[in-house]
């Protein structure tokens, strides 16, 4: 259609809005490992807030690991996994510049205190958080992280001990908190909790 040199020229100077539209069909791994490093105009389009509203860390396994095991924690703990998650969090927060409002952690990857606190510090505008596994998090770590998430509205979490304590922490810090999604059975503790927080909307995804 056109000679090559004109297309070369145009790819370096492609309209910002069109680039953003194109990048919307890419996942987070493509954005951080390819797009952000091609050239300065691609990198600046790659930082557009619209691309980072939702940060879905589940996506990183979708292609490379089709036969994902069905239990949580299946990717046994290792230093490299731990670093990997930290690296992803660091890299994405450099590009997203605090614009993430929805953060979804990976069911198969350990989330430790340092990850959650780092994510909290760098993504303070978070409204929705999905944390499908949190057995490695300490109460202290959770409390520290939630202090940064004042605007949090919705939380998806698995079973946890003493829900009262957690709700107290979120209640004091997150004034707009209104939705709790549980990936476990609804036991007596939760029932009691819900009867006390009437404004809270709660859904349960666990096995019956």
């Amino acid at each position: 259609m056109r000679n090559k040199s004109s297309s070369v020229y145009r790819w370096n100077n492609m309209d910002y809005d069109i680039l953003v539209k194109i990048f919307m069909s890419l996942n987070v791994m493509d954005l951080i490992s390819v797009v952000s490093q091609v050239c300065s105009s691609w990198r600046s389009a790659c930082c557009d807030p619209i691309l980072w509203k939702k940060l879905d860390l589940c996506i990183q396994i979708s292609d490379s690991c089709i036969y994902a095991p069905l239990q949580s924690d299946a990717w046994s703990y290792s230093v490299s996994n731990n670093n990997r998650l930290m690296n992803i969090l660091k890299t994405t927060s450099n590009l997203s510049q605090g614009n993430v409002t929805r953060l979804i952690f990976n069911f198969f990857e350990y989330v430790e205190d340092e990850h959650l606190v780092y994510a909290a510090k760098r993504n303070r505008n978070l409204k929705r958080l999905a944390l499908p596994i949190w057995s490695r998090l300490t109460v202290r770590g959770r409390r520290k992280a939630f202090k940064y998430w004042k605007g949090l509205e919705s939380l998806t979490i698995p079973d946890f001990k003493s829900p009262m304590k957690l709700m107290k922490a979120t209640g004091t810090n997150c004034k707009n908190f209104s939705e709790l999604k549980l990936t476990c059975n609804l036991n007596l503790d939760y029932a009691l909790l819900l009867s006390m927080c009437r404004s809270l909307r709660c859904s349960v995804f666990g096995p019956q």
């Binding site: 090559k4 300065s40 890299t91």
Partner: protein, 177 residues
């Protein structure tokens, strides 16, 4: 210089709309096809409001930002559009779609098609061509992408090195090509 697009059913009485490209070529297209381009649709409706469209197909809609070669491809793509907009529900279908997207795969063509689809506000086309382009980014290396799109890295050497180091962990398991 008239360039009438083919009509599989000449007896069809559907209304035609004439589009004029940047290089002054005239395209007579079916209304149903032209209405896929929201920019044209908007123009057409405005004309109607102004009571000019009573002249019907004699209205020529100018498209100063679109070259005839690009418009011809957009129209032919538009005619091939599947009736249902259902998302590919199995792997095989996705593979077929991928192959189809590859036909439009040269970066020079894509930049023109995407710019034109964007100007015409042709949603299905934009989505399709964007995805065709995304196919060449997914799971590829920075070098491959630069080479394929003919982009020159314009970072300062220290920036380039910084980004490299920062993302060194991410370069495991990318496609070879």
């Amino acid at each position: 210089m008239s360039n009438t697009s083919e009509n599989p059913n000449p007896s069809s009485s559907s209304a035609k709309i004439t589009l004029k490209t940047s290089d002054n070529e005239l395209f007579e297209v079916e209304e149903a096809v032209a209405m896929k381009f929201c920019t044209v649709k908007q123009y057409f409706e405005d004309e109607k409001d102004n009571d000019v469209a009573a002249r019907g197909s004699s209205t020529v809609i100018p498209l100063p930002n679109v070259h005839s070669a690009v418009l011809a491809r957009l129209i032919s793509y538009c005619k091939k559009l599947p009736q249902s907009n259902a998302v590919a529900d199995n792997h095989e279908e996705e593979e077929t779609k991928k192959k189809e997207r590859k036909q439009y795969g040269t970066p020079g063509d894509l930049v023109d098609l995407i710019s034109a689809a964007n100007y015409l506000d042709f949603k299905e086309g934009l989505e399709f061509f964007n995805q065709a382009l995304a196919d060449h980014i997914q799971n590829k290396s920075v070098e491959y992408v630069r080479k394929f799109f003919g982009i020159k890295g314009d970072f300062e050497p220290h920036e380039e090195e910084k980004y490299r180091e920062e993302y060194a962990w991410a370069f495991e398991g990318v496609d070879e090509d």
